[in-house]
């Protein structure tokens, strides 16, 4: 396995009138090519901030992030991003929403080839019959399928997923996790996904990176998910290792919660 993502002492801060507000500081993470890592932590801890810095949508205050040996400077289609909200363009059909990216990335291909790429990925996420529909005609789950198809169709070198299933009900979330896992298993793109769902992290990831609570959030603990692949939702909870792994995550999150309560009661 070769090193693909190298984050060194990443920092994000905003100037405020009371001085510098440090969201993330001293964040280190290395990922191998083809690895699936979930970033977990309490809401507001800064995990989405880390992701959007890697996506180039948020400036890096200090530190370094190398993706495939190249330093992150601004956004680019080499990193496919799936946002929490589907972020589809409401005046375009599902197909056109995927095409707008494909046209940009495969500018040298023929129109027919580009159309085939877009339709292939839409079919892969189960939207064969909904390609002509506009976002308003699709359920949230279907919209997020389009979001996945759009990200994969770019043939990015890395996937960045920012709580992509956070807004979905649990049944739809399970369906989409399966869709994502199937797409990922096919070409093993390096993927970093932010979530606060423990079971989602265990189902998808090779490693789970736990973040401490902000301010000055950083990596607290890293858990190797030793569960075999391909993973089956029904069987995964029967593996003897599952619950011990799950309790590591839960107790870390509880510790963080308690630490936060402590600082609050001290402040009060």
């Amino acid at each position: 396995m070769s090193l693909f993502l190298d984050i060194v002492q990443l920092k994000k801060s905003y100037p405020t009138k009371d001085g510098e507000a440090v969201i993330v500081e001293g964040f280190d993470l290395k990922m191998d090519a083809g690895e699936f890592v979930c970033l977990i932590g309490h809401s507001g801890c800064g995990k989405s901030t880390v992701l959007s810095m890697l996506a180039g949508l948020n400036d890096i205050t200090d530190g370094n992030a190398l993706v495939g040996g190249r330093e992150v400077r601004g956004a680019g289609p080499d990193r496919g991003v799936v946002f929490q909200a589907p972020c589809l363009l409401p005046w375009l059909s599902a197909r056109e929403n995927v095409m707008i990216g494909v046209d940009q990335v495969y500018a040298h291909g023929t129109a027919q080839e580009r159309l085939e790429i877009a339709e292939y990925y839409l079919a892969r996420v189960g939207l064969d019959d909904a390609m002509d529909k506009r976002p308003a005609e699709l359920s949230l789950g279907m919209q997020q399928r389009v979001g996945l198809a759009r990200a994969f169709a770019l043939a990015p070198r890395m996937l960045l997923l920012d709580e992509p299933f956070g807004m979905l009900d649990s049944l739809t979330r399970n369906e989409l996790q399966d869709v994502l896992l199937e797409l990922w298993q096919r070409d093993r793109k390096t993927a970093l996904m932010v979530t606060h769902d423990v079971d989602e992290a265990l189902f998808l990831a090779d490693r789970v990176v736990m973040m401490t609570n902000g301010p000055r959030a950083r990596v607290g603990k890293i858990l190797d998910v030793t569960l075999p692949r391909p993973r089956d939702r029904a069987k995964i909870i029967e593996y003897p290792g599952y619950y011990p792994l799950r309790s590591v995550l839960i107790s870390f999150l509880e510790e963080q919660e308690n630490a936060r309560d402590d600082t609050r009661s001290k402040a009060a």
Partner: protein, 338 residues
Amino acid sequence: MSRKARVIHGCEVAGLDVFVPVVRLLSGEEPSRQIAEFGRSVGIPLLALGVFLLVWAGVASQIETSIGRVPGPAAVWEQGKALVGDHYAERTKEAQFYERMEGLKEKYAEEGRPWKDRRYSGKPTFLDQVGTSLATVFAGFVIASVVAVPIGILCGLSPTFYAAMNPLIQIFKPVSPLAWLPIVMIMVSALYTAENPFFEKSFISSAVTVALCSLWPTLINTAVGVASVEKDHLNVARVLQLSRFSTVRKIVIPSALPFIFTGLRLSLGVGWMVLIAAEMLAQNPGLGKFVWDMFQNGSSQTLAQIMVAVFTIGIIGSLLDRMMITLQNAVSYDVRSS
């Protein structure tokens, strides 16, 4: 979508919401509710109109003016028919004139005398004036849109450009058409000096005045629409590394389109109102001139004729608005996209 749903959607986009209950009724959906719905959307307005006409008739008969009694609805209706009748009478006369000319032309040709074409010089009728006004307002509207949309887009994209434009917008926006008109007329006389002008000077100055007064709503709405493009949508452009031009063309403009059309609708409404005033003051042909001419006539028909013009102006204005609502619905993606 079922056929019924398509028909209903079509009605809504076309702004014919009134007929939605009819469609539902014909398909046998909850008849009593649809009849009540139709009664509310058609019956009540008709009733209100009836009450208005009765009050008008009652009040009008009580008022005596220097040029006779104020006409009631019936007299105005008669006058309306008379004006339309005049139009066709005038057209018949015109046709007869050209027929006579044809005859004369042949006769001249037989006798070997030189022939010069002559144009019919009858005065424009009420309907001609309506046509002129419509042509003028559309010309002004097109000029306004061509100017306002691009400037609005630039204002929305660049806060610096907006800061530069803002004082000009603030100063010129409230200026009345009556103040612009003399300047425009003098400028048009000075600058528009074609030998055989395709457009009349008066037409150009009316249209330019309309444009000057009506471009502001479009400009401001476009700027707001462009500036309020969702950040998520712009992030899509950033991830895809769309060029600045592509971002504007593929993301910013489509997303601002509903705003732009709201602005255009307001502009056309303002333009129509301004036009009547401009025509009246400038003696440019059109409905405004018609009203002014009738006022100067001071005949016993004057009031009825002007009232016909008032209703015509009102009805055309609301039809133009209806038309723009339909366009607005057709381009809006979130409000009625289904």
